[in-house]
């Protein structure tokens, strides 16, 4: 057990239940599906005339998606306030930036990320989301191992 979970397992399970409670309550209260990558397209509609961003589904959802994202930051702040634990990653800046580019492009092309396909899609019993999850898990595991093998910092 401690080999599989060297940091323990309770906080993973507790955090996961909270994430699911947030997504689940959002649905019960407002009927909305709380993925997390659409906000990066819908927010462009405020400043860009590109037709794709001006689609009705983005214009309709851009406001609540920004509020939802603000909620995420608030949740992080709440954790900071309760635990006093701040944290800065040591993953190098170029990995974060290149990773971000691929995340933004890929998640929007594939209409979903770990939250959209992984949580909302699977909880909706959508088999295309299961397929998407298996694909992104595979490429993520593959590139992470490749980079370790190459000794990339």
């Amino acid at each position: 057990m401690s080999e599989l979970f060297p940091q323990g397992y309770a906080h993973y399970l507790a955090g996961g239940l909270m994430i699911g409670a947030g997504v689940g309550l959002l649905f019960l209260l407002t009927g909305l599906i709380g993925g997390m990558s659409s906000v990066f397209s819908s927010t462009w509609s405020y400043v860009s005339k590109v037709p794709y961003f001006q689609a009705p589904r983005y214009l309709r959802s851009r406001r609540w998606r920004l509020v939802y994202a603000a909620g995420l930051i608030l949740g992080g702040l709440l954790y900071l306030g309760l635990s006093g634990e701040t944290f800065q990653t040591h993953v190098s800046a170029w990995r974060l930036m290149v990773g971000g580019l691929l995340i933004g492009f890929g998640a929007r092309l594939g209409k979903g990320c770990t939250a959209g396909h992984g949580i909302c899609g699977l909880a909706s019993l959508q088999w295309p989301s299961l397929l998407a999850v298996m694909v992104f898990l595979s490429t993520a595991i593959g590139i992470a191992h490749l980079m370790r093998w190459l000794g990339v910092a």
Binding site: F5, Y12, L13, A14, G15, G16, L17, I19, G20, A21, G22, G24, L25, L26, F27, T30, G31, I33, G34, S37, V39, F40, S48, Y52, W64, Y68, A70, G71, L72, I73, L74, G75, G76, L77, Y79, L80, F87, Q88, H90, L96, G99, G100, L101, L102, I103, G104, G106, A107, R108, L109, C113, C120, A123, Q126, P128, F136, T139, I141, A144, M147
Partner: protein, 137 residues
């Protein structure tokens, strides 16, 4: 009604962000450890999150006529087409290179993880490139 709706969205987002923080998904190092099979914690996070969401998604529409603060339940629709699969593959590469995905990138700002700004800038540009030059036909 509108204010209650906004407040509900904000609170649910906060719960999501709190969960990401508690489960240390805001630490790219922990995500990379999962992808390298050193710590399988991320699987537990997914199981817990999917379990709760599954209950709400499956039971809500059966037990309630409509959501408390809105007129109808939305449905998640995904398609098994080439765009979804190529997009998922590219997303996975970014996830595996950085150890970050959209939720933790946003939440990271709340816990003072400033390097997440690099990721957020990247995601915003990547999403723009998709919408500008690769919209669905």
């Amino acid at each position: 009604m509108r204010h209650a709706h906004t407040l509900a969205v904000l609170l649910c987002g906060s719960l999501f962000g709190l969960g990401l923080s508690v489960s240390t998904m805001t630490h790219p190092e922990v995500v990379l450890d999962f992808l390298l099979f050193r710590d399988l914690g991320l699987l537990l996070v997914l199981v817990g999150a999917i379990g709760m969401a599954l209950l709400a998604y499956q039971l809500g529409p059966r037990l309630m006529q409509k959501p408390w603060l809105a007129d109808k339940f939305s449905a998640h629709q995904s398609q098994a087409d080439t765009r979804t699969l190529i997009g998922a593959a590219i997303f996975g590469l970014g996830w595996g290179i950085s150890g970050v995905c959209p939720g933790p990138a946003i939440t990271g700002l709340g816990v003072g993880n400033w390097p997440m700004l690099y990721v957020l800038a990247g995601i915003a540009v990547g999403a723009y490139v998709q919408g500008r030059w690769f919209p669905p036909r």
